[in-house]
Symmetry: C2
Subunit: 194 residues, 2 copies
Amino acid sequence: MLQADQLKPLFDVFNLIQPLSFQVTEALKPLCQLRYFKKHEEIQAIGATCKTVYFVFSGAARIFYLKDGHEVTEYFAFENDLIIRAESLFTGNPSKKAIQALENSNVVAISSEALFRLFDQYPDLEKLFNKLVQRSYVETLKRLENLQFLTAEERYRKLLTDHPEIIQKIPLKYIASYLGITQVSLSRIRSSLR
Amino acid sequence: MLQADQLKPLFDVFNLIQPLSFQVTEALKPLCQLRYFKKHEEIQAIGATCKTVYFVFSGAARIFYLKDGHEVTEYFAFENDLIIRAESLFTGNPSKKAIQALENSNVVAISSEALFRLFDQYPDLEKLFNKLVQRSYVETLKRLENLQFLTAEERYRKLLTDHPEIIQKIPLKYIASYLGITQVSLSRIRSSLR
DNA sequence: AGATTCCTTTTACATATGTTAAAAAAATCA
DNA sequence: TGATTTTTTTAACATATGTAAAAGGAATCT
């Protein structure tokens, strides 16, 4: 069971995005399940329909899918980051993507159905959720631009400056597919920068 | 000035996504400005902050930006499609992207500030807007996946099956940058498929 | 600690895509 | 219609990235 205020760091982040009243906060807390996953453990499997909204409480996670038998990483999430598989959550279709812990991680899991049921009663909660979605959307647009017209080396350099924590904490084989290139190619790029 | 029910086709689409009451519909109508743009005309310029939500009423439009002096097309919009530059609308930052008519087009323009002001009074209107954003987000995720791990030829084939209207109506030079390749490369791919 | 597995780099070669320039084809305009 | 401009294709060559296999290095497990 959750201890009082254990969730405070996450709720502090929420409040920066959308100020929440005491009532909203109290209504949301019971929906938050703190779950522990070991490094490499699967948080959600491929084929499951996304009915849970996750936040990384501590640790790190990724979303990936299989393409021709090998894994393609689509997204990395760190502390306080939202994890949803939007293409499933918003359509009700099963997701072809999995969520996996990259380190021993604590994750806050919220049932999307229970969350959405609170929206009519607490409009600010709906606004918070939608602002989080908007932020994810904007981030995805930026990644799209990068993939559309930067070279592999430019994308790697950009990741290095924009998200150094990814380079530091994540195995290169995951970063390669995230950048849309092979591991060999990434290795080549790295050695050319030395 | 708008004639009664001129907007009906667009509102029919809205109702499929989120049923709107008579009151909501009547509140939204006065915000809808029907504007005409000639082929190639600029709907919004680079550098402007996005404070308008557009829908294509008839015709077609695109979002593009400049990269090293040449245009990169990010998005095509056809009848009833939403056009927003999310990275500006949701952040308040000036957009580096322009919106341009690709044919003689009628466009419904809605002030985002006026629209957002209606949200507290009409929650279903907020829900409609957020569902439209969610759909755009999901579409963007699909494009990201394609750019991340399909070859140029696979991306072209996919566009051919998923959005034949783009191939039919849009100049190839715009399609090339949309696919993340040069015009020469696209031409080569097309001839190899013949 | 040693053995095993996993991750990263390197090499050699193949292929896809980019670049520049020119020709061909199509669209636009007076 | 004919002239002009724009778009698309083709050619030749350069470069980036992919593929497969092997070696080296690091992490993990008992």
